[in-house]
């Protein structure tokens, strides 16, 4: 309170007295502070502005999950579910596969914002096949931007190791920059809770949300890798890279989780990069002896069939399919049977 001057005319030395006006002001102030505190403390919870929290549950932060739209596009009549391109360079193989599927322009429209999800989980050189090959990614970005006249291509992943290093050392950052795409690196603010109805493990889970803001097409671009626990890491397992939170718990039931991922996101296309195939020691690799050149690019509208084909033909596994493919089949994502659904273009 400001210094109060002695009113003029009051005799010096006389005992100071409160004026009536000052007294009323003070009393009003005291009453205001007290009643405000009392309102905050005791007003019932449904009163406007009430702060009372009798059982401690009101103060629990409300989770406001978001949902993803379905990014799928119906394939043209007569197109196969899975197309494989062999021979030539990355662009040639990719074009062969996409053309057999009806052409990329059928799936990506002018003005679209397209999210590409490569697998950049580790800071490995491209030849070690632990990450998506940058050439195929660059080729795909060019096709999307030039042929399909998309508005923007985003590339995002939430790697296990340092994101900046993983993107740099896998060659993906440079490839994306040269092709005209934009890399989204995860940070603490980039995640939101995603609601996936019908999934068993990730009904509400932290999800790398930022690159998906306003995106209307999503394409997974995954390498084909060996994986000790779930046998193979291919197109469906790739979506693991958009999860946040304590995702290392999922190894306790990895097959259920991977099949849940196929419910979580319904990509426009799944592209499997068979430039190099990591045959063993996956998913990290690290030794060129683990890698086999695959000379194939798989493009598919059915992620389950694509994985099943790649498991048999790129990883050359004759053992039964990974269980997650069968679970995904049960959950209605697609069909693991590749009979008559695959077209290979040499």
């Amino acid at each position: 309170m400001a210094r109060r001057e002695r009113p003029a005319g009051e005799p010096a030395g006389a005992p100071r007295q409160l004026t009536r006006r000052a007294f009323l002001t003070r009393a009003l102030g005291a009453a205001g502070v007290t009643s405000a505190a009392a309102y905050a403390a005791y007003a019932p919870e449904d009163w406007p502005g009430a702060a009372r929290d009798a059982d401690g549950l009101r103060s629990v932060p409300a989770v406001k999950p978001f949902r993803l739209t379905d990014f799928r596009v119906a394939k043209p009549v007569g197109a196969p579910d899975v197309a494989v391109g062999h021979g030539g360079d990355a662009m040639t193989r990719l074009r062969k596969a996409l053309d057999a599927l009806g052409g990329l322009a059928h799936y990506v429209s002018p003005g679209d914002i397209v999210l590409l999800k490569p697998n950049v989980a580790f800071d490995r050189a491209p030849v070690l096949a632990a990450t998506t090959n940058p050439e195929i990614l660059a080729a795909l970005i060019r096709l999307i931007l030039v042929d399909c006249r998309a508005q923007e291509v985003r590339v995002a992943d939430n790697p296990i190791e340092s994101p900046a290093d993983c993107f740099a050392k896998s060659g993906i950052a440079a490839a994306v920059a040269s092709a005209g795409g934009r890399v989204y690196l995860p940070d603490a603010n980039a995640f939101r809770i995603l609601n996936t109805p019908d999934s068993r493990l990730i009904e509400n889970w932290q999800f790398f949300h930022r690159p998906l803001t306003n995106a209307n097409k999503v394409i997974g671009v995954a390498p084909v890798k060996d994986h000790n626990l779930c046998l193979a890491s291919m197109g469906m397992k790739n979506w693991y890279g958009l999860l946040g939170g304590r995702r290392n718990q999922f190894h306790q039931d990895i097959h259920e989780l991977v099949s849940d991922l196929s419910l979580m996101i319904r990509p426009t296309l799944t592209i499997l990069d068979g430039t190099y195939v990591l045959m063993r020691n996956g998913p990290t690799g690290g030794d060129p002896a683990d890698v086999r050149p695959g000379d194939a690019v798989v493009a598919a509208v059915d992620p389950v069939a694509a994985d099943a084909w790649a498991y048999r033909h790129l990883l050359s596994r004759t053992t039964e399919l990974p269980r997650y493919l069968l679970l995904a089949e049960e959950k209605g994502t697609g069909s693991a049977s590749t009979e008559g659904r695959v077209r290979e273009i040499a």
Binding site: I160, E161, A188, H227, Q252, N281, T284
Partner: protein, 569 residues
């Protein structure tokens, strides 16, 4: 007010006076320091000389030369500062030192004293000689082989504070701003470029509170005593003060022109008594006294110096010198002989970054500047507390794998280390490839399993995240597979992990990814590190032998044999 209108010096000449050059210099060097802190990051480093302030530090140069007998990599750059000091005195303190500039800035900003109070505050006090005691103790310790100068050296201290306290705080503010703006519908990805360490997760440093508190305390003391740290504690200032007796140039007072008005004390940074006999060892050559002398009696000159107007040596007699020497010799065994960091008894968490030299050598070289912590992309490097490294190793870098892991193809810490405590290595050397095959990879430690906590081992729950992320090939974590009926009658396939110690490089990614947080089911301890013969675990690495057999290499060099020359820059 009225005073300036009367100054006869033309405005352009006023602008070009030397104190403005000093302020520009301080601004530029402080900017370079912050820029270096910004560039000390994996995606920005390029070829920037981000550790050059440390490498220019003559005290680091001298003490590492004393402790090791050698001058590492760029440390010779300190000759520039030594030369500048013997020419111009302690110009480093008020023209270059970013920590000095920070003190001066804060002191100036919060200085609300009257002129008379300023004169009193800027007079020399005997306590200012304390810094020479500190310097003496540090030098004696270094000569005995324990480098402690980094605790108080201003460049080390500021780097350390920036890396562990200021950068996380600043980045937190930037992140908060960004998310607030995003909440308002405005996403500014460009803000990530402003962050000093733009990692995905907010960075955390164990014990950064104490480092930050020390910085804040020292800076806040400027309000009580101007330039308190620089005048009283700074060992680098003391070192330069000793050197500055050789200086050619100094402030010289023309006693005949002086009216003893004391105005020269108003802004004297070093408390060097320009009004009387100049204490040369305390003068920062800030040149403010020249500006403040209405009689033009003060000049910074090499010629026409009045020998009566100077005290060239520090206020530090032989008695104090003897006392200081004794203190240093007493401090050395106190630091060393506490049984916390010997080859028989050392903390399991004393895991040094890749390229680190053997522990005894490491403590002779590490100046605790935390440049390695700043550049580490995964946040695994942490300042060691007393519990891990003892008082001698306080704030030296150790790896805490609960917070991160050592990324396989990354050697950035060895790139920025100014003193070679972390020797500069290439990825090839780190992984034991190419010319380093016969020696194998640099292991930081060895992973162990706590089978009582491991999910497949103890609880019949599938997991093996550790095996998945193990980055070496073949994997150092292998599994024994077993099918069991669990408590709920389900058949489950358990991949029970175990460690192949020959292949383990101690990178700690298994520990950092282990879902059994709180206390991890797989953890890395320091035993088995390749840098130390005495802390080794295996008689030999079978994997290296196998690699040699496959390649037909010459037999492995015996442990401790000369390493291939590191390519210089």
């Amino acid at each position: 007010m009225m005073a300036r209108a009367r100054n006869p010096v033309p405005r352009i000449r006023q602008m070009l006076r030397i104190t403005n050059a000093r302020i520009a210099s301080q601004a530029v060097f402080f900017g370079l320091f912050v820029g270096a802190a910004w560039a000390t990051w994996t995606s920005r480093l390029g070829g920037y000389p981000v550790s050059r302030f440390l490498e220019l530090d003559p005290l680091v140069f001298t003490t590492t030369l004393l402790s090791t007998g050698y001058v590492y990599r760029f440390l010779g750059a300190a000759v520039l500062i030594i030369a500048a000091t013997v020419l111009f005195g302690r110009v480093f303190c008020n023209w270059i030192c970013p920590y000095g500039s920070l003190h001066q800035l804060i002191g100036w900003l919060f200085n609300v004293r009257s002129h008379r109070e300023r004169w009193a505050a800027n007079r020399y006090r005997p306590i200012f000689a304390l810094k020479y005691v500190g310097l003496g103790v540090f030098v004696v310790l270094a000569a005995f082989g324990s480098l402690q100068v980094g605790l108080l050296d201003p460049i080390c201290l500021l780097h350390r504070s920036f890396a562990t306290a200021i950068a996380p705080m600043f980045d937190g503010v930037v992140d908060g701003t960004r998310s607030a703006l995003a909440g308002a519908g405005l996403d500014l990805p460009a803000l990530a470029a402003v962050k000093l360490a733009p990692a995905g997760e907010p960075r955390a440093f164990i014990g950064s509170f104490w480092i930050g508190a020390l910085l804040v305390t020292l800076v806040a003391l400027n309000v009580v005593v101007p330039r308190f740290f620089c005048r009283t504690l700074c060992p680098l200032g003391a070192f330069l003060g000793v050197l500055s007796r050789l200086a050619l140039f100094r402030i010289n007072r023309d006693a005949s022109a002086c009216t003893n008005c004391n105005l020269c004390l108003t802004r004297c940074e070093g408390a060097a008594d320009p009004a009387g006999q100049l204490r040369l060892s305390e003068c920062f050559a800030c040149m403010s006294c020249i500006d403040d002398c209405p009689e033009d009696a003060l000049r910074f000159t090499a010629l026409r110096q009045d020998p009566e107007q100077v005290v060239a040596t520090p206020d530090f007699g032989r008695r104090q010198l003897l006392f200081t020497g004794a203190l240093g010799m007493l401090a050395f065994p106190l630091l060393k002989n506490n049984g916390l960091n010997t080859d028989a008894s050392y903390s399991p968490g004393l895991i040094r970054p890749p390229g680190s030299v053997e522990e005894g050598e490491f403590l002779k070289k590490c100046i605790k500047c935390e440049q390695c912590l700043k550049v580490c992309p995964t946040n695994v490097l942490q300042p060691a507390g007393l519990d891990i490294a003892g008082p001698e190793g306080l704030w030296t870098p150790v790896m805490v794998f609960n917070l991160g892991h050592c990324q396989l193809t990354c050697t950035l810490c060895s790139e920025v280390c100014p003193t070679g405590a972390i020797r500069r290595i290439t990825v090839e050397e780190k992984l034991g490839r190419g010319p380093y095959r016969s020696r194998g990879p640099l292991a930081l430690g060895t992973a162990f399993f706590d089978r009582g906590r491991c999910l497949p081992h103890a609880m019949q729950i599938p997991c093996v995240v550790c095996e998945e992320v193990c980055p070496v090939s073949p994997k150092a974590i292998q599994t024994e597979d077993e099918e069991v009926i669990d408590a709920f009658g389900q058949r489950v396939l358990l991949n029970k992990p175990f460690v192949v110690p020959d292949l383990c490089i101690g990178c700690g990614i298994c520990q950092s990814e282990c879902p059994v947080t709180a206390s991890r089911a797989v953890y890395v301890t320091a035993v088995g590190e390749t840098r130390s013969a005495a802390r080794r675990l295996l008689l030999r690495r079978r994997s290296v032998l196998a690699a040699q057999a496959g390649a037909g290499d010459a037999p492995a060099a015996s442990p401790g044999a000369a390493l291939p020359a590191t390519p210089g820059q």
